[in-house]
């Protein structure tokens, strides 16, 4: 504390105070707690919050009860047909009340954007002369990667997901994400309104032990396109809307849970083509045809589908969970049928 007093900067003073508080809690007992029953901390959803695979739950991540804090590191790998998602991050649950999370996602895009990149390169000279400017679309001929950072916070408001088997009152939490997509140029090309935005959600989670079932219902208030990987909003702006999400899980064994999820997605960019320097690419259609690239035209209209997945989560112990899923994400921007396997690992400490 002497150190902190001499410090000029309020921020580091605050940090020192926080560390001192942590240190004093440690001396009062064990700050780290892993008192939850196996599996009841849930897994890490792709935005980094505690939950299922694609939906945040009302449970606070990690194994701490109200007596301590507990955190986890998570990594998710989803090789879809034309895109591959890697997402890595960390989350901490405080006193089974409050949760903070950080996740960095990268989506490497495959053949579609490669083709598009080639098209842009080919017609580049032409569009340059039309617009009178050198143009950057954010799409490279090969290996366009979309990067996004997600910061999340969640507070459990009331209710008891696990032990109140004698009533219907679920555990309810509210949370928010702040998402920063790093690909300004690409998002402009795709017609998204914003690259950074927040979203908020309310989740209700309840376990029904007599039927070995967990139900989670979430309402997310958002303008995201593909969770923000394709930015937020579209040509009509980025007004948020409420989108429902549901997870249904069956407790198969004390260390194994299977289930399905559904998350409603928006339609901000539906029917939207690709724009280069304010030019809708459909106006380039004749050019593409002369270049013998007319076959690409069919893929130049974007669409977004609701997300579905079916998962099995395995908890060999309180330090590790392994979630495998089949994700059915439908149309992602220009490419339909984006289905594929999904693997998510969570290490708790």
């Amino acid at each position: 504390m002497e150190e902190a007093k001499r410090n000029k900067f309020p921020l580091s003073k605050g940090a020192a105070l926080f560390v001192a508080m942590l240190a004093s809690s440690i001396s009062h007992g064990d700050l780290f707690d892993s008192g939850k029953v196996l599996a009841t901390g849930g897994v890490s959803m792709i935005d980094g919050a505690g939950g299922g695979g694609i939906t945040p739950w009302a449970t606070i991540t990690g194994y701490a009860t109200k007596e301590g804090i507990n955190g986890d590191l998570h990594y998710t790998y989803a090789p879809l047909a034309n895109y591959t998602l890697h997402s890595v991050g960390a989350a901490v649950g405080f006193w089974d009340r409050f949760e903070l999370s950080y996740t960095s996602s990268s989506l490497t895009t495959g053949s579609t954007f490669d083709t598009l990149g080639l098209v842009f390169d080919t017609v580049g000279g032409l569009t340059d002369s039309v617009a009178g400017l050198p143009i950057s679309t954010g799409i490279e001929p090969f290996n366009t990667t979309i990067d996004m950072e997600v910061i999340g916070a969640k507070v459990r408001v009331f209710g008891e997901a696990i032990y109140d088997s004698d009533n219907f009152i679920p555990q309810v939490a509210v949370g928010a994400f702040y998402k920063t997509n790093k690909n300004d140029e690409l998002l402009t090309t795709l017609g998204a309104d914003k690259t950074k935005d927040w979203e908020a959600y309310i989740s209700a989670t309840k376990i029904f032990f007599p039927i070995n079932t967990l139900i989670n219902i979430t309402a997310r208030y958002t303008a995201a396109n593909q969770t923000g990987l394709v930015g937020f909003g579209g040509p009509d702006g980025s007004d948020k809307e409420i989108r429902p999400e549901i997870s249904l899980a069956y407790l198969l064994r004390k260390d194994t849970v299977i289930g399905v999820e559904w998350a409603k997605h928006g339609d901000n960019l539906n029917g939207q083509s690709v724009e280069i320097a304010g030019l809708d690419l459909t106006s380039l259609q004749p050019t593409l045809e002369t270049l013998g690239l007319s076959n690409v035209a069919g893929t130049l209209t974007q669409n977004e589908s609701d997300w579905y997945d079916a998962f099995v989560a395995f908890f060999p112990n309180k330090n590790l969970s392994i979630t495998m899923a089949y994700a059915m994400l439908g149309n992602i921007t220009l490419t339909p049928d984006q289905h594929g396997f999904y693997l998510s690992l969570q290490a708790s400490f």
């Binding site: 008192g35 029953v37 032990y163 109140d164 088997s165 004698d166 219907f168 032990f209 070995n212």
Partner: protein, 153 residues
């Protein structure tokens, strides 16, 4: 009219009185209800007794909680009373002769971590006596609401 009002008031008071204190007089009312053959799934009263013995075996192996039982408990009495209580919450036709959960645990300052440790022992005992996970969860559902009475810290 007065009669009606009194009936409503009494019914209301009974409901309020009955729910939070959770007295040990019968099957736990859960949503959805516990299976009607739950005691049979456990192998009848004998099976329940086996499960309770297994429970205390695992409790006494767990350093997070065994000291509480060593200091304040009476294992033989607790096995006897828990065998009654478990049958009762599962819908068995028995009388529970022990203290209420609130009274029995009031002075122990039990934490949720300790309560969860007993739940983990409960699952271990289910596995040890070859009970299905589904049958085990009937019991977890039946005992879960006692959390409010037992966890006081």
């Amino acid at each position: 009219m007065k009669q009606l009002f009194r009936t409503i008031a009494i019914t209301f008071m009974l409901c309020v009185a009955a729910s939070p204190s959770f007295s040990q007089t019968g099957k736990t009312g859960t949503y959805p209800p516990i299976d009607s053959d739950a005691v049979e799934q456990f192998g009848g009263p004998e099976g329940v007794r086996n499960w309770v013995e297994g429970l205390f075996y695992y409790i006494m192996l767990d350093n997070r909680i065994n000291h509480v039982f060593r200091e304040f408990g009476n294992i033989e009495r607790q096995i006897y009373l828990n065998t009654q209580l478990v049958q009762l919450v599962l819908g068995g036709d028995v009388e529970y002769q022990g203290a209420s959960m609130a009274a029995a645990h009031a002075d122990l300052g039990i934490t949720l971590t300790q309560f969860n440790a007993v739940v983990e022992a409960a699952y271990n005992s289910c596995e040890r006596i070859q009970l299905t996970y589904e049958a085990c969860n009937q019991l977890i559902a039946g005992l879960a609401p006692y959390k409010h009475a037992i966890v006081t810290r």
